[in-house]
Amino acid sequence: MAEAMGFFTDTTVCIGCKACEVACKEWNQLPAENGGIRELSGDSYDNTRRLDGIHWRHVRFIEQFKGPYDGRWLMMSDVCKHCVQAGCLEVCPTGAIIRTEFDTVVIQSDVCNGCRACIAACPFGVIDINPVSGTAQKCTLCYDRLKVGLEPACSKACPTDSIQFGTIAELRPRAQKRVDQLKAQGVEAHLYGADPTGPLGGLNSFYLLVDKDEVYGLPHKPQLPSRNLTKSAGFSVLSAGVLGVLALVGLRKRRMDQVGGSGGSN
């Protein structure tokens, strides 16, 4: 495998310009929802609402105000996390979801049949069906651009370098330095997904956050779907076993009753 590559997103310098959203749409030629005719969401300046089949980048706006002018406005560009241990890849029954030589997670559009198992498996709610293709689609970390040595469209467009692209080996120490710098200024910063011993083996698109993970719409401890496999299958077998035994016992009782009453007139 070539080196693992991905994103480090420093949300403290994000300005909420959504250049990443538009650059992604432009490069991947994704359609606008309903041709661009929509309703205001009412959720601050976020009208994209969530990542889905035609929105592979989504800028979140989190207003934290105690009173007029008293507070802060957090902004964060959400994207597929390209998990080192990916739930979507785990469950995909067609083998459409693969891990590339860049350690990114990509859905092969010509293989996917739209069963939607990956949508339910992703702990972050990243994937959705693209209504145009009928298949599941998400950020590819611009696999086609990476293959020719370019950086992804979103990180190239980001004017403040909030989205930084590079090898994971160089992004992680850079991120830690930034966390230390912010902490020295009294800002409660932490990294989300930068720990290879952490949830999902680390995320190849990891974040610097200044509040709790859930505030940004991120699960605190994301897990793989297969965590439930053994227990769930085991209990099913148990249930079937109990029912099988009950059925057999019933049959035996019936036979016994029959044998016992065969001398009678009934």
């Binding site: 310098v13 909420g16 310009c17 959504k18 959203e21 538009v22 749409k25 432009e26 359609p31 606008a32 929802e33 309903n34 041709g35 661009g36 005719i37 929509r38 309703e39 205001l40 009412g42 601050s44 300046y45 009208n47 994209t48 207003e63 105000f65 105690k66 009173g67 007029p68 002018y69 008293d70 507070g71 406005w73 004017p159 403040t160 370098d161 200024q185």
Partner: protein, 290 residues
């Protein structure tokens, strides 16, 4: 944090953040104060030879947090050529390099109709008296078109029919009046509808919930928009009064994928004395649930 953060964004043309920043250093090229250190002369800097002529350049360079707005290797002691051409008359202390004589002007004899010093005037519509000049509320040389006509009524100071201060502004996603941006699907879906931003206090007072339609009225016109209730905008405490502040982006019009009322219809036909820009950033209005 100190510094110009030159890697954060880009300022055309050379990523210089402060025009005429040679002026941040004194006549000898040292910062006027440590606290305001910005651009300064480093006399020991070893310069490579001139790439065009190959001639050696004496040591010394303007350095600093910002990109210097000055000839990089011109020392503060340099004397200009009085009969030179283009930039030759400028000396090492002439920070205002785009002026012919290299000096900053406090007062101009021609071109501007107001000056020489900034002062405070209230906008043509204001909820409060001008505390600095009780007898001169707003700029005496402001342009007013159709003065007194019915379509250009101005609210009196503190008119209770228009108790809120309104400002208009731009959004990232749309451009000017939106004639170009509101036809683009990718931009229209990012900001699909006109809205007014108002504080939670005002919303509670008028019974307005997030996304309710409201009518915004000024003495000129009225528009309808959805309410975006947020504490990013709020109340001003001026002259002992608590005044609600509301804001609207002015990108909308009636054609395109994304349509809405024209917010500039609310403004008065009052303009800047020099460049005639209409006063769309500060006027008064009323807001009611639709």
């Amino acid at each position: 944090m100190p510094g110009a953060h030159l890697k954060w964004g880009w300022a055309w043309p050379a990523n210089r953040r402060n025009i005429y920043n040679r002026a941040s250093a004194d006549l000898n090229g040292n910062p006027w104060s440590e606290r305001k250190r910005w651009v300064w002369w480093d006399p020991h800097f070893v310069n490579p030879p001139d790439p065009k002529t190959g001639k050696p350049i004496p040591p010394g360079k303007w350095v600093g947090y910002d990109v210097p707005d000055f000839t990089l290797t011109m020392p503060p002691s340099h004397k200009g050529k009085p009969d030179g051409i283009i930039m030759e008359p400028l000396s090492g202390t002439d920070a205002y390099i785009m002026r012919p004589e290299g000096k900053g002007w406090i007062y101009v004899p021609a071109g501007l109709v107001d000056g020489p010093f900034p002062t405070h005037y209230e906008p043509h519509e204001s909820p409060v008296q001008n505390l600095l000049y009780p007898k001169q509320q707003s700029s005496p040389v402001h342009k007013v078109w159709s003065q007194g006509k019915p379509w250009n009524q101005l609210a009196a100071v503190g008119d209770p029919k228009f108790p809120y201060v309104i400002t208009t502004y731009r959004l990232t996603e749309h451009y000017l009046a939106g004639a170009m941006s509101r036809w683009l699907p990718w931009l229209s879906e990012l900001q699909p509808e006109l809205f007014i931003e108002l504080g939670k206090g005002l919303a509670k007072e008028k019974g307005i919930n997030n996304l309710d339609y409201v009518i915004i009225t000024t003495p000129r016109s009225h528009v309808r928009a959805k309410a975006l209730v947020t504490d990013r905008i709020g109340v001003l405490k001026v002259a002992g009064k608590t005044i609600h502040h509301v804001g609207m982006p002015w990108h909308w019009g009636w054609m395109g994928l994304s349509t809405g009322d024209v917010v500039n219809d609310l403004t008065a036909w009052v303009g800047d004395p020099n460049v005639s820009i209409h006063e769309g950033k500060a006027f008064v209005c009323n807001v009611e649930k639709a």
